[in-house]
């Protein structure tokens, strides 16, 4: 490569696919690469975050990247003053988001250390009590979101309000509820990052220490030392397993196996022990069915609580397997023993001084690390589930009022355009005239839908412009698994070779038939014993992990959700292959080596 040619293209040279012209107008001005800033923007290295956002954003859904990445940054930059790292800049280009970490100028790093020690130190020292408080805050936030209600504007202001001298109409509640929903979402994402970066920092410290002690130690061995096996993230799946066992015990398993969810539940209700089982099912739903098959970042994510056929399908699967004498429960006692064995054996290979240091770092990592797993349930699943439910409710209401022809129309508007629509709705209601929206939005939404569909036909670039000599930004490494080496893999991808290289994320070697899955809706296509190949997986795909032999993903590092779940379920995994899901096709025989990170197409 010569000095003039950057390793990756400039965003300014990447045109939109045909039919997607004008996509920029779908997002706020600060989210797109502005023509006047080309010289500056081209100097920065941007990598695509298709791990969290694998599909082009509908305009409303862009709120997830805005709030999430803004809040990630605020903690580094303004709360804790993480010495070398500020936040992460982000842009949307051709529908995908690109990230660029902002480093602290070297001469300023030293000066931030005392403040970091004071502020972050307080969190590390008071972790359990602060975390207890976090749970209260997040719970209150969820409750407030649940309490929001979007109702059709009535024919008249209720007479009680008039006589009670309230002096306000029903649009007030409606617009305030919408603003409140957005504000609660904003809080959700601030809470998300309150502990997360610190959890990763403590892990990074342990990680660096272990690599210094044992340069060849597999990343996954260090990950296993801190992994908790009773994380709330695994509770939804565990609840289904318990329900399966209970169904067999109470003799209602047969009734559950056939018909729609409603039919099955009604059938159970007629049985002698049916009420008992139904009560257990209801208890499990709150909160554990606030669980998505997606990752919480899209308005289209399906949540169990609203799609009971999803957990019912998994439940039926578990019943069949349990009846066949299989152990469906996770072997947590064995996993705990294994974690202790691994920790002990590495420790034995250290000298006594290092052993003491190791104990300190491991101790802290084990206190803080469970948050890294647990938070996912409370934020991405539970909080986001409630948020999307409320937003779908609002979208449906406006659909019924004629603003758009489909229930999901609102998600083709930006969050600020929704405020305009609510004003339009309330305005005409107040004047007694006609809403403008119904004559404007249907065709505009149709146009936007066409743009999004066109954007979806073109995969993102892995990165833009030139990477730095070495990646030293700690959160890029931890959160996105991006290292100088992985970048080399993106460019060195020899598409003729039958070999793919990624991260050895979970150990073991297997051969089997590939099943390429591009969306959670395809999950039911997976057959027993296949190897799951996907651009990215979500932790909530857990129930299918009982069926598959191994996982291969395009995106993700050691601590990606796919890696965590695979280690938990004892399946080999290779993550971050770059383009495994487009190079491998369903039905091909492949070999997955989770020890070396190699994936070989055998056909």
């Amino acid at each position: 490569m010569d000095a003039q040619t950057p390793m990756f293209p400039s965003a300014y040279d990447l045109n939109a696919p045909a039919g997607a012209e004008g996509w920029e107008e779908l997002y706020p001005y600060y989210l797109t690469f502005q023509p006047g800033l080309r010289a500056k923007e081209d100097q920065k290295f941007w990598f695509c975050d298709s791990q969290h956002w694998p599909n082009p954003f509908k305009p409303f859904d862009a709120v997830t990247v805005e709030f999430a990445v803004k809040c990630l940054g605020q903690y580094n930059t303004r709360h804790y003053l993480v010495p070398p790292a500020n936040g992460v800049d982000y842009r949307i280009h051709n529908g995908y988001c690109y990230m660029s970490p902002i480093a602290v100028a070297p001469e300023l790093i030293e000066g931030r250390i005392p403040q970091f020690m004071d502020r972050a130190g307080h969190y590390f020292q008071n972790w359990p009590s602060l975390l207890e408080n976090w749970h209260k805050k997040v719970r209150a936030n969820i409750d407030a979101m649940e309490a929001l209600n979007f109702e059709k504007l009535p024919e008249t202001v209720p007479v009680e309000d008039v006589k009670g001298g309230v002096g306000l109409d029903n649009t007030t509640q409606l617009t305030e509820a919408y603003d409140r929903a957005i504000q609660l979402l904003y809080r959700t994402w601030q809470y998300h990052f309150e502990f997360l970066n610190l959890g990763y920092a403590a892990y990074l410290d342990l990680f660096g220490f272990m690599k210094e002690q044992f340069p060849s130690i597999p990343d996954q061995a260090i990950a296993k030392m801190v992994q908790g096996h009773d994380s709330d993230l695994f509770r939804p799946d565990d609840e289904l397993k318990k329900l399966a066992r209970l169904a067999i015990e109470l003799g209602v398993a047969g009734a559950l196996k056939a018909g729609s969810v409603d039919e099955a539940l009604a059938n159970v209700g007629t049985l002698p022990n049916g009420e008992k089982w139904l009560a257990a099912w209801e208890r499990a739903k709150d909160p554990w069915f606030n669980y998505t098959t997606g990752n919480g970042f899209y308005s289209t994510d399906k949540y169990w609580i609203e799609h009971l056929d999803i957990p019912m399908g998994y439940l039926r699967d578990y019943i069949v397997r349990a009846e066949a004498g299989e152990t469906i429960e996770r072997p947590t006692a064995k996993l705990h023993a294994e974690r202790d064995r691994i920790t002990g054996e590495y420790q034995e290979m250290m000298d006594p001084e290092a052993q003491e240091v190791f104990q300190g770092k491991l101790g802290l990592a084990r206190v803080v690390y469970p948050y890294v797993e647990d938070h996912n349930f409370y934020i991405e699943h539970w909080s986001m589930g409630v948020f999307w439910k409320k937003m779908r409710q609002l979208s449906k209401l406006l659909h019924q009022e004629g603003f758009w022809p489909t229930e999901d129309g609102m998600f083709y508007l930006t969050r600020n355009e929704v405020r305009d629509v609510l004003f339009d709705y309330g305005n005409a209601w107040a004047t007694g005239g006609e809403w403008i929206g119904p004559s404007y939005w249907p065709q505009e939404i149709e146009r936007r839908r066409g743009i999004i569909d066109a954007l979806s036909t073109q995969p993102p670039q892995p990165a833009l412009n030139n990477p730095p000599e070495v990646i030293t930004e700690p959160f890029t490494i931890m959160l996105w698994g991006i290292t100088s080496e992985s970048i080399k893999n993106w460019t060195g991808g020899d598409s003729d070779s039958s070999d793919l290289t990624g991260m050895a994320a979970s150990p073991g070697v297997v051969e089997g038939l590939a099943r390429v899955i591009r969306s959670p809706d395809q999950l039911d296509e997976i057959q027993e014993g296949e190897i799951l190949v996907a651009p990215v997986t979500a932790p909530s795909w857990a129930p299918v992990f009982g069926k598959i032999q191994a996982t291969v993903t395009d995106i993700g590092g050691m601590m990606s959700h796919a890696a965590i779940v695979c280690r938990e379920y004892g399946l080999p995994a290779v993550t971050g292959t770059g383009n495994g899901s487009s190079r491998i096709t369903t039905g091909q025989k492949i070999r997955v080596d989770g020890n070396t990170g190699q994936v070989t197409v055998l056909d």
Binding site: F207, E212, S216, M349, G360, V470, P474, V509
Partner: protein, 354 residues
């Protein structure tokens, strides 16, 4: 039982000097329940009796007096003369009886390996020992007795004499025990080190393996497959499959072994299954734990034993190269607590390479 032989399962910790390093290790392994081909040690007392009761000691000493250790020709002549003297004597009757009796105990016409177990073998640089004086597929007590004598004679190769002279070890004072061990019908065999010999990495177990008996691996005549196993996770992390051109296999008709060309796809196939690689690694790891230090283990897979019971340890000795190096101290003192976290954030060095 005489003092001249000692079955592996009776060798105690106090017997080290009498049975030599190799037999002592076989004894320890046997008693720790590690699968080892059965056998017995011919003790140094038997050797001393041979020297003293046949007049051999005086003959050797006389020859040594005439030897110019700096003159290659003189040294060669002396070595040959001494070896001829060794072979001109029968073993003392009671020594021979003891060997025959223990051999018969193993079963009629049991093929055995007869190997030296020198007491000098544990010297740091004694890597010459125990290599050339190994006799495989020996059958019948006459041949066993004869090869025990050959092992003793092998103390007086020119190379061994020169080595002892250079290291100011007494020539006739170095004693030798001999191991008589049931022959393994090895489908594959080799060596396992409980650290990476290239860099001393203790998290790895590195295995060399090839077809047939392990001698060709040890002597370097074939380039073996080379596997690397992560010691804690017990996962195969690297495998280099080589072209294994020959194998050493038993030749029962000749009561010996024969080198045979490996043909076809077998040459470049992985000679151990992954499960077998892990079994060898598990064995080596166990021996390291038992001995409390990194080990160099010779092992074989016996074709005559059922799967799951067919992996045998032939020898385990302390690794000497890396174990003697002082461990490099870390460049700076460890940063702990918050300072450690700041250090990790500022320089996430470990995270750069996978």
């Amino acid at each position: 039982m005489s003092a001249y032989t000692l079955p592996f399962d009776r060798i105690g910790s106090g017997d080290h000097a009498r049975v030599g390093g190799k037999c002592a290790s076989l004894g320890e392994m046997t008693q720790a329940g590690v699968a080892v081909p059965p056998g017995f040690a011919v003790t140094t007392e038997a050797y001393v009796a041979f020297l003293d009761e046949t007049g051999l000691r005086a003959e050797v000493e006389k020859q040594l007096e005439r030897t110019d250790f700096d003159d290659v020709a003189s040294l060669d002549r002396s070595a040959q003369a001494i070896q001829i003297r060794f072979r001109s004597h029968h073993l003392p009757e009671h020594v021979e009886q003891a060997i025959r009796a223990d051999y018969e105990q193993m079963g009629a016409d049991m093929p055995v390996a007869v190997r030296s177990s020198a007491t000098a073998e544990d010297l740091p640089d004694a890597s010459f020992a125990g290599q050339q004086d190994t006799y495989l597929w020996v059958v019948g007590s006459d041949d066993v007795v004869e090869h025990v004598r050959d092992c003793w004679a092998s103390l007086f190769t020119a190379r061994a004499m020169k080595y002892r002279h250079a290291n100011t070890l007494g020539q006739i004072d170095v004693l030798m025990s001999v191991a008589v061990q049931k022959m393994v019908n090895a489908r594959a065999a080799g060596v396992a080190m409980t650290l990476d010999p290239l860099n001393g990495d203790r998290t790895r177990i590195v295995i060399d393996a090839s077809y047939g008996l392990g001698e060709l691996v040890v002597s370097g005549i074939v380039t073996p497959d080379n596997y690397s196993v992560e010691k804690v996770l017990m996962e195969v992390v690297d495998r280099k499959i080589s072209d294994k051109t020959v194998e050493l296999i038993p030749d029962p008709a000749a009561a010996s072994t024969v080198e045979r060309e490996v043909t076809g796809d077998r040459r470049t196939a992985q000679c151990l299954s992954d499960a077998e690689i892990l079994a060898v690694a598990q064995l080596a790891k166990r021996l390291e734990k038992q001995n409390g230090c990194p080990q160099d283990v010779e092992w074989a897979l016996d074709a005559d034993l059922p799967e799951g019971e067919n992996l045998l340890a032939l020898q385990s000795r302390p690794e000497t190269v890396w174990s003697q190096k002082a461990k490099a101290k870390p460049k700076s003192a460890y940063a702990t607590g918050l300072a450690g976290i700041v250090g990790a954030l500022n320089n996430p060095i470990g995270a750069k390479s996978q």
